[in-house]
């Protein structure tokens, strides 16, 4: 099984839709431990991506992801804009020129993408950031593949791990980003960036399953 370009386009469209749907929710999560803009930021960014998709639909997957990266970097602002922008920029480099993605290609996309987030944001697991969703999600995807699973199954494991990672941010004390200024007061709140990461990965799963 491979992932088609249409599925990638569908992923980005579905991401835009689900983030728009969850705009208020994500912004609310960003209230107690942030500055109440994550949902607004990320929905604005992916909304612009969705608008630009038709223009690049006939290009290769790398180009589509690069457009996504550039759009997010210029439309989102904030920490998450740069981090998601970097994810897609690296991901684009990882799958440059491809029209479909094998399991290994998708693995590369995710792996170099997450590497991009880490390289820019310098967060580690436990800092209460989106990395707490991305890192276990990537690990679950990879061990699923290693165990011989199909892409869809591996993506399911990936999304489950992202969801778990997202929930696991609740008891953590933030050490990166705006939430870190709260010290102990950041404990007990779910990280908004980890939440949007889960939603984006789930959109990928849905696009692949569709």
């Amino acid at each position: 099984m491979t992932v088609t370009k249409a599925q990638i386009i569908d992923w980005l469209g579905k991401s835009a839709a689900v983030l728009e749907e969850n705009k208020a929710y994500l912004t609310e999560l960003d209230g107690p431990i942030g500055d109440s803009d994550h949902g607004v930021n990320i929905a604005r960014g992916f909304g612009a991506v969705a608008e630009n998709l038709p223009d690049v639909a006939d290009q290769d997957i790398g180009s589509i992801l690069k457009m996504t990266a550039m759009t997010l970097m210029s439309k989102v602002g904030g920490a998450s804009g740069m981090l998601y922008g970097n994810f897609f920029l690296r991901a684009a480099m990882g799958v440059n020129g491809k029209e479909t993605l094998s399991a290994d290609d998708l693995n590369k996309l995710l792996e170099v993408g997450v590497g991009g987030i880490v390289q820019r944001g310098r967060a580690v697991v436990g800092d209460k950031t989106m990395i707490d969703a991305w890192t276990p999600a990537l690990a679950a995807f990879q061990s699923s593949l290693t165990a011989g699973r199909e892409i869809t199954a591996a993506m399911r494991a990936c999304v489950d791990a992202a969801e778990q990672g997202m929930k696991d941010t609740i008891p953590l004390q933030a050490r990166k980003g705006r939430a870190s200024y709260l010290g102990e007061r950041s404990i007990g709140h779910q990280d908004p960036g980890a939440t949007s990461t889960y939603l984006i990965l789930n959109a990928l799963l849905e696009a692949i399953e569709a």
């Binding site: 912004t27 209230g31 107690p32 431990i33 942030g34 500055d35 109440s36 803009d37 607004v40 930021n41 604005r44 550039m70 970097m73 210029s74 439309k75 989102v76 602002g77 904030g78 920490a79 998450s80 804009g81 740069m82 981090l83 922008g85 970097n86 820019r120 944001g121 004390q173 933030a174 050490r175 990166k176 980003g177 705006r178 870190s180 200024y181 709260l182 010290g183 007061r185």
Partner: protein, 356 residues
């Protein structure tokens, strides 16, 4: 939410249109958003550029002009601007002498300016990023994103802007900016929340007799909440936190122009000491009237005098705000003769003007 705005999606654009109409000496770009001196690039002069989320006006756009910033990049409200803005702005003001980015230490700003610096570098533009991280409400740099950039930004933009005007080269400007940052400390308090237009409701809730100490400038919660006390007590708390702040160490990432890569640099700020000359800024968060700022200043002046800290210059007013938030911040920046000379140099911007 009651505000003098039109469509929520235009809350950054509309004031920029007003700036353009009111200040023909500036050039305002709407796509992407940035403001530059109309006479930029100025041959041979280092271009000083800053930027950050909107909602802190007059910062930064109000400080563009002769003797201060060459360019400013406003993001969405309380949201960092994006690298394409900084890149276009940097291109517009670079005369060949290079671009100095003054960056408030918020993750979004830092990451965006880093990306913009890389982009300019790859275009052959000499570039350097200097961080402002002066908010003593943040105690450690190891387990947090580090101190936020607040009031010292204003002082830095003035002093470094004057140095660039006087012919300092890029490295000299960067060294001076780093010194201003290491000499500056700030802390703020909020009496009320502000409301980000897109959110439509207050960023946080404060009880009728509560205040938030150590607030940032984006409505993000501060250090602690407590009942509102008198102005004198508030001034004392803020001033003591600043004056008693121990040495502060953090690792900053600066751009190595030769190697074309980011290098770690450990910096430690020395505490204030009796005999220091300082510039004092008593700043409104936006909704606090001038009379209350002067009430704070009266107490600050007395505390400084008692501790033999000499306030040699001062600035009292709304310079780095958080929309309509009520509250204030105090910034003290130690100065030497070099810095004081540049502080006193002529400046002509919408929000800070003297000597011309």
């Amino acid at each position: 939410m009651k505000k003098l705005i039109n469509a929520i999606e235009n809350v950054v654009r509309d004031p920029l249109m007003g700036m353009a109409a009111a200040h023909p000496e500036l050039k305002v770009s709407i796509d992407p958003h940035y403001i530059v001196r109309a006479d930029a690039p100025i041959p041979g002069k280092v271009a000083v550029v800053s930027g950050g989320g909107s909602g802190h006006e007059p910062l930064h756009g109000g400080f563009v002009g002769v003797g201060m910033l060459d360019g400013a990049c406003p993001g969405e409200v309380f949201t960092s601007p994006t690298p394409d803005q900084m890149y276009a702005c940097g291109q517009a003001v670079n005369s060949g002498a290079g671009v100095l980015f003054l960056v408030k230490n918020y993750t979004g700003d830092v990451l965006s300016f880093e990306t913009a610096a890389e982009l300019l570098h790859f275009d052959g533009v000499p570039v350097q990023n200097i961080l402002v991280d002066d908010d003593v409400a943040v105690k450690d740099s190891l387990y947090t994103a580090g101190r936020r950039g607040v009031g010292t930004t204003v002082i830095m933009e003035k002093i470094v802007g004057a140095a660039a005007e006087a012919g300092y080269d890029l490295d000299q400007c960067a060294d001076l900016a780093r010194k201003v940052n290491q000499y500056g400390r700030s802390m703020g308090v909020a009496l009320t929340s502000c409301t980000v237009p897109a959110a439509g409701k207050p960023s946080f809730e404060l009880g009728d007799d509560e205040m938030e100490i150590g607030i940032g400038i984006h409505g993000e919660p501060g250090q602690k909440r407590m009942p509102v006390v008198s102005a004198d007590e508030i001034a004392t708390m803020l001033a003591n936190e600043i004056l008693d702040d121990p040495p502060y160490t953090r690792t900053v990432h600066e751009w190595d122009r030769q190697a074309g890569e980011w290098v770690d640099r450990e910096l430690t700020d020395a505490p204030f000491a009796a005999g220091d000359d300082v510039i004092a800024l008593v700043n409104s968060m936006g909704g606090t009237p001038l009379s209350e700022l002067y009430t704070i200043y009266a107490k600050l002046a007395q505390i400084c005098q008692d501790r033999q800290i000499n306030i040699v210059r001062n600035l009292v007013g709304p310079y780095i705000t958080s929309l309509e938030m009520q509250g204030c911040s105090i910034t003290l920046v130690k100065v030497d003769d070099e810095m004081l000379g540049f502080w006193d140099a002529s400046v002509r911007t919408p929000a800070l003007r003297w000597g011309m």
